[in-house]
């Protein structure tokens, strides 16, 4: 089983990198961008028998810091 974990800063948490990317897009002439949020994607190659619940536990314990980040698990 493969899983893909999307980690994003929660709404309301300042994302200075996203803001810088938005600014850079504006400088390139892309005027239609109202906001940019930057996150990360983690792909897991899991042994047989692994469960989505275990991936959830991995997110809670290490992959995301739930004080500032939310995560979404996609089973591939």
């Amino acid at each position: 089983m493969k899983a893909r974990v999307h980690v994003m800063l929660k709404d309301g948490v300042l994302d200075p990198q996203g803001a810088a990317v938005k600014h850079a897009l504006g400088a390139l002439g892309f005027d239609g961008v109202d906001g940019v949020r930057q996150g990360k994607v983690i792909e897991l190659d899991l042994a047989d028998g692994a469960t989505e619940a275990q991936v959830g536990e991995m997110c809670e314990k290490l992959l995301a810091n739930t004080v500032i980040e939310s995560y979404r698990i996609e089973v591939l």
């Binding site: 800063l9 948490v13 300042l14 200075p16 990198q17 810088a20 314990k61 290490l62 992959l63 810091n65 004080v67 500032i68």
Partner: protein
Amino acid sequence: MKAVVVQFPGSNCDRDMAVALEKSGADVTIVWHKDAALPSGVDLVAIPGGFSFGDYLRCGAIAANSPICNAVVDHANAGGYVLGVCNGFQILTETGLLPGALLRNAGLKYICRTVGLKIETSNSAYTEGYNAGSEIGVPIAHHDGNYFADDATIAALQGEGRVAFTYTDNPNGSRGDIAGILSENRRVLGMMPHPERAFEDAHGNTDGQRLFAGLMAQLASA
């Protein structure tokens, strides 16, 4: 007073921290992150600055899950003292010993310079050598020092007098200008500025000295 400095791959302020503690009169041991236990009779654990595990995933995240950190959490939960500076502060938030998290600096730049700090409370072993409300200068050197916590947490920290230091001129976007915070029992301190770099005359600034002196005084009498 028995102190331990924890060393992770990528720590780079461990020796400075050990020197500051030794010169303040502590008996200092450096322990490796793979050690599962602290030496017996330790009073203070210092988690130094640096880039533990290359800041991979998030600053402090991997270090917070290393074997030694379980022992550090047990030490703190048993009422032991823990000082986390810079990356050490990031690690302490990742372990959950201190609330909140350190985000990328608002201006996105790595900042390395001396900043003004206001002493918000003298009610802790770390700050008792200073007068509340006074200002000192201490160097910062970080890319991710932008303190974040939700409104309720910030209000609780401020209401309980657990904000130890604030920036006089916020360099990194930290909420409430927060530069350092204390645990509920006031024995765990996390701070982004480096008191060990403002310790002796050769540093050109000794404003950090009283933090170590206060700690020694408190722990020697304990």
